[in-house]
């Protein structure tokens, strides 16, 4: 950074890109930085060129970016998450490669692939991206896509607000992405603890990128939580009592409640840190009465519920797939509901276990330690319920079941290491070591990542009309399981050997064998990522053979399987009357589940609008302007946001009406198609004979 702040360009100048560093001091670290920026630039250019060449701009704008349809918004969330996942996994791989070459000596301490500050940027962006821009969009996207269909609802309670939420999340993600090219990201880890991240120790734009990405996307997540909660409470189909909801909807409700109550804490802690940095406030400074531990407390009041926000939708997915792919009814529905809600509530009472070493009394630590151990109980209940669901079932080893099995084996280990860490006296020994890193990856990867990928595999046909390749799906799942084991099991050992987390270098040669093992795991994770991409590509090429127009490829029991694949924008031709917990399954038992409704009516859908897109653009401009101190742009964009809202408020907005005749025609065509498709037995599930119409006599859920 050089020169003063320009009134027009703020702190921006030609030296902010990593290319300057790469030209001035070419070494492995700066070249990796410039390479990453180049991937971003080339990727953006390739994307724009593809859109232009294929003339996709119009369809993209009309069918996706301006659509308030929850299902499409869900798909866009997941697409965003997969792009960010790619970056996150590559960063993880670079970190493992770095530490495998980072054995220093006392005289030459800095060694390895990247420079220490570059390494710090890597673990900060990796954590930020994986939590906020991979896990969150994955689960929010999946809930958006699945929940309304399972509830028998036409759409979210607030479809346009949903669009705004997506826009805010995407704006936050874009800020993190652009930090690759313009300037640098913060080096304070994904939690960005002050006072290190205060203005004195971290001047420059790095922490600000994090702050604005978090503030903007956090607002989006809060609004999403409200939207989910109101949808579940007020927009269920008639007869869909709370205790008839599929388990995935229950965990979505838990997530919604937790988003509503936990996200504000993150907003407050980030806003306070922003005030410290921008306006010289003294919330978390060392001087003038600041108290840095307030940040840790407020952050983790969000942060701990957050980990359960991440895991609960995966638990919902596992509840659905364990039942469907075992051909059995879910075991212990009520206990799973109670367990999910217990987890949601107890998760608000354990935040202090993230800093047992703060210096509070032993009594306080014991209380939080016990609360932490208690939360293991409902989680254990769930594991037993899923195993009991599969017990003596006709289990088909599909890709989701491979993920579930990997989850059973690995998540339990991660949970047990969490119970170990919940003991304050043990935590004093291993806190801030790679033991902790191993622990939270051990719950988040088998939990969230496997769960979400299993869910994507399971519901993919509903979105796009064709199944994903089971062979490649299973290969991907196995690679993710193997990759996890090799990457993170060595970190438990390293942690117990005394290796601190986030170390750019170390001097103990005994670490090296474990480092090589972990680096090999990193290679496997990269292979898993490639295999995941290949699964989508191979399935797309083979989409005719994999097509399931009947819409029920797995012989499911919940409402979303009663509609065609891909699902029409109105989801249900008529809002279904629900009379049982597994309504679609019960209709199969009663025979002739695909009977059409007696009459069709006009369907009212929210009209497409550019509202969310405009807010997203304004929010991104606001974030970018604040990061670079471009005050004129910040003022314009902060006035633009309420302006856009007020202008929309003054207009009378008419819904879009889909005439009954159009619905009837499409629906009757679907029902004729189902009659003419040959039913597929369970044994045929993976073959071309599976056209999405299962043999209902085999249904046993």
């Amino acid at each position: 950074m050089s020169g003063g702040t320009s009134p027009i360009f703020g702190n921006l100048n030609w030296n902010v890109t990593p290319y300057t560093d790469a030209f001035q001091h070419p070494d492995s670290s700066t070249i990796i930085g410039a390479g990453a920026a180049s991937v971003l630039v080339l990727g953006a250019i390739a994307g724009l060129a593809l859109l232009t060449y294929m003339r996709w701009w119009g369809p993209l704008y009309r069918n996706w970016l301006t659509s308030p349809d929850a299902k499409k918004i869900g798909i866009m969330y997941i697409a965003l998450a997969l792009v960010m996942l790619t970056r996150g996994i590559i960063e993880g791989f670079v970190m493992r490669a770095h530490q495998a070459t980072a054995l220093g000596t006392l005289s030459a301490q800095e060694s390895g692939l990247v420079a220490p500050d570059h390494f710090a940027e890597l673990f900060s962006t990796h954590g930020t991206i994986m939590i906020f821009f991979v896990a969150m969009p994955l689960l929010i996207g999946l809930i958006n896509f699945v929940m309304t269909q399972q509830l028998g609802a036409r759409d979210m309670a607030f479809p346009v607000l949903n669009q705004v939420s997506l826009g805010l999340t995407a704006a936050g993600a874009a800020l993190v992405m652009i930090s690759l090219l313009v300037g640098q990201f913060g080096t304070g880890g994904w939690t960005m603890y002050p006072p290190y991240t205060g203005k004195i120790f971290s001047p420059g734009e790095g922490v600000d990128y994090w702050l604005w990405a978090i503030l903007i996307s956090g607002m989006g997540s809060t609004l999403t939580g409200m939207n989910f909660a109101v949808t579940i409470f007020k927009h269920r189909a008639p007869g869909m009592h709370l205790m008839r909801m599929p388990l995935f909807c229950w965990t979505s409700l838990c997530v919604a409640i937790m988003l509503i109550y936990a996200m504000p804490a993150l907003t407050v802690s980030s806003a306070m840190l922003a005030l410290d940095r921008y306006a010289d406030f003294h919330f978390f400074t060392n001087a003038s009465g600041g108290n840095m531990m307030n940040y840790a407390n407020i952050f983790w009041m969000f942060g701990h519920p957050e980990v359960y926000i991440l895991i609960l939708p995966a638990f919902g997915v596992f509840s659905e797939i364990s039942s469907t792919f075992s051909g059995k009814r879910l075991y212990g529905y009520t206990s799973l509901v109670i367990a999910s809600m217990s987890i949601a509530v107890i998760s608000f009472t354990v935040w202090l276990h993230h800093f047992f070493t703060m210096g509070q009394s032993a009594g306080v630590n014991i209380a939080f330690g016990i609360a932490t151990m208690i939360i293991g109980i409902p989680t254990g209940v769930k594991i037993y319920d899923w195993m009991a669901t599969m017990w003596r079932g006709r289990v088909r080893i599909t890709a989701p079941i491979v993920y579930l099995t990997g989850f059973f084996l690995l998540f339990v280990i991660g949970g047990l290491s969490g119970i170990i860490l919940a003991n304050p006296s043990i935590d004093y020994q291993v806190h801030n070591s790679t033991f902790l890193v191993a622990h939270f990856h051990n719950v988040i990867i088998p939990g969230v990542l496997y769960g979400m990928l299993a869910g994507i595999h399971y519901w993919f046909p509903k979105a796009f009309g064709f199944r994903l390749s089971e062979t490649w799906g299973r290969r991907t799942a196995l690679l993710f399981v193997g990759g996890f084991v090799f990457t993170f099991m060595p970190l438990y050992v390293l942690g117990l050997m005394g290796m601190p987390r986030r170390s750019p270098t170390f001097q103990n040669p005994d670490f090296m064998p474990w480092m090589y093992l972990a680096a090999f795991g990193g290679v496997l994770m990269m292979c898993a990522l490639a295999s995941l991409v290949w699964t989508f590509w191979a399935s797309y090429r083979n989409r005719v053979a994999l097509a399931v127009p009947g819409g029920d490829p797995w012989n499911g029991s919940t409402l979303e399987w009663s509609t065609p694949a891909p699902v029409p924008e109105w989801t249900f031709p008529c809002i279904p009357q629900v009379s049982a917990r597994h309504d679609w399954g019960e209709r199969k038992r009663a025979g002739d589940p695909w009977k059409g409704p007696a009459a069709y009516t006009d369907i009212e859908m929210p009209a497409n609008t550019v509202h969310g897109l405009l807010i997203a653009i304004a929010a991104f401009a606001l974030g970018f302007a604040m990061v670079w101190h471009i005050w004129w742009l910040a003022i314009i964009s902060i006035l633009a946001i309420p302006g856009i809202v007020v202008i929309r408020g003054l207009r009378v907005i008419e819904p879009r009406i889909i005439p009954a005749a159009e619905v009837a025609e499409a629906d009757r065509r679907f029902r004729r198609l189902v009659e003419n498709l040959p039913p597929a037995t369970r044994a045929d599930e993976e073959t071309e004979r599976n056209r999405g119409v299962p043999d209902i006599t085999e249904f046993a859920g």
């Binding site: 309670a157 607030f158 809060t222 609004l223 939580g225 409200m226 939207n227 909660a229 109101v230 409470f233 007020k234 927009h235 509503i260 109550y261 996200m263 504000p264 804490a265 907003t267 407050v268 306070m272 005030l275 410290d276 306006a279 010289d280 406030f281 003294h282 919330f283 400074t285 001087a287 003038s288 009465g289 600041g290 108290n291 307030n294 407020i298 009041m301 309420p642 007020v646 408020g649 003054l650 009378v652």
Partner: protein
């Protein structure tokens, strides 16, 4: 619970037909939003309490140097009477007493809210003059943030009232406007609730 209570608070009632039905999820959703907002204030209250000691004040000016309880009482009066005035809006809406009455009551609310803001800003200016700026100490940072955020909410409320007046004048009292007025009512009373907390915890506790 009677049949026509679809969300907490004053319902529009079945005579309003569509608007009553629409309000069920929209006003309920707005309640949920305010509960989330309440968490923000709750954390700021807790932070204020944690900085309210000699370490947090760090040798800077303290509550006894800065707070003018008479002015605070005056602000309380403006804000709470503004809250009561919204009852006029709600009743005029529910019993369909016409646009003019609605707009008049909304203006009363806006004026009383503006009176609150004027005296609050005057206090902030006086306090800054005595060295009580937010950069002086952790306690002052939390004081300005908490009370300032509430003041910002009141300003947003006034802006919202003004846009509602424009909406009533231009598009009339249609279903959408009715639902929005119900939400605005919940918001406006929410500000009173927060202020009661601020008045007691921020001003009375340290002066006691």
């Amino acid at each position: 619970m009677s049949e026509n209570t679809l969300y907490p608070g004053l319902n529009l009632g079945e005579t309003h037909g569509e608007a009553h039905e629409q309000a069920e999820s929209i006003v309920f959703g707005f309640w949920v939003f305010l509960m989330s907002d309440l968490i923000i204030f709750g954390i700021l209250f807790a932070s204020y309490a944690s900085y309210l000691d000699p370490i947090g004040m760090a040798g800077g000016p303290g509550p006894k140097d800065l707070f003018d309880i008479k002015s605070v009482a005056l602000q309380t009066g403006f804000l709470l009477f503004g809250g009561i005035a919204y009852a006029g809006v709600s009743l005029a809406l529910k019993y369909e007493q016409g646009r003019a009455k609605l707009i008049a009551w909304l203006l009363v609310c806006a004026v009383l809210g503006a009176g609150f803001v004027v005296f609050e800003v005057k206090d902030f200016v006086t306090q800054a003059g005595k060295g009580g700026i937010p950069q002086a100490s952790g306690w002052l940072s939390s004081y300005w943030t908490l009370v300032g955020l509430h003041g910002f909410h009141v300003c947003c409320g006034i802006l919202w009232i003004l846009t509602m007046i424009v909406q009533i004048a231009t598009r009339g009292v249609d279903d959408t406007v009715k639902v929005r007025l119900s939400m605005l009512g919940v918001f406006w009373h929410f500000l009173d609730l927060i202020w009661v907390g601020i008045f007691s915890l921020v001003f009375l506790v340290p002066l006691a």
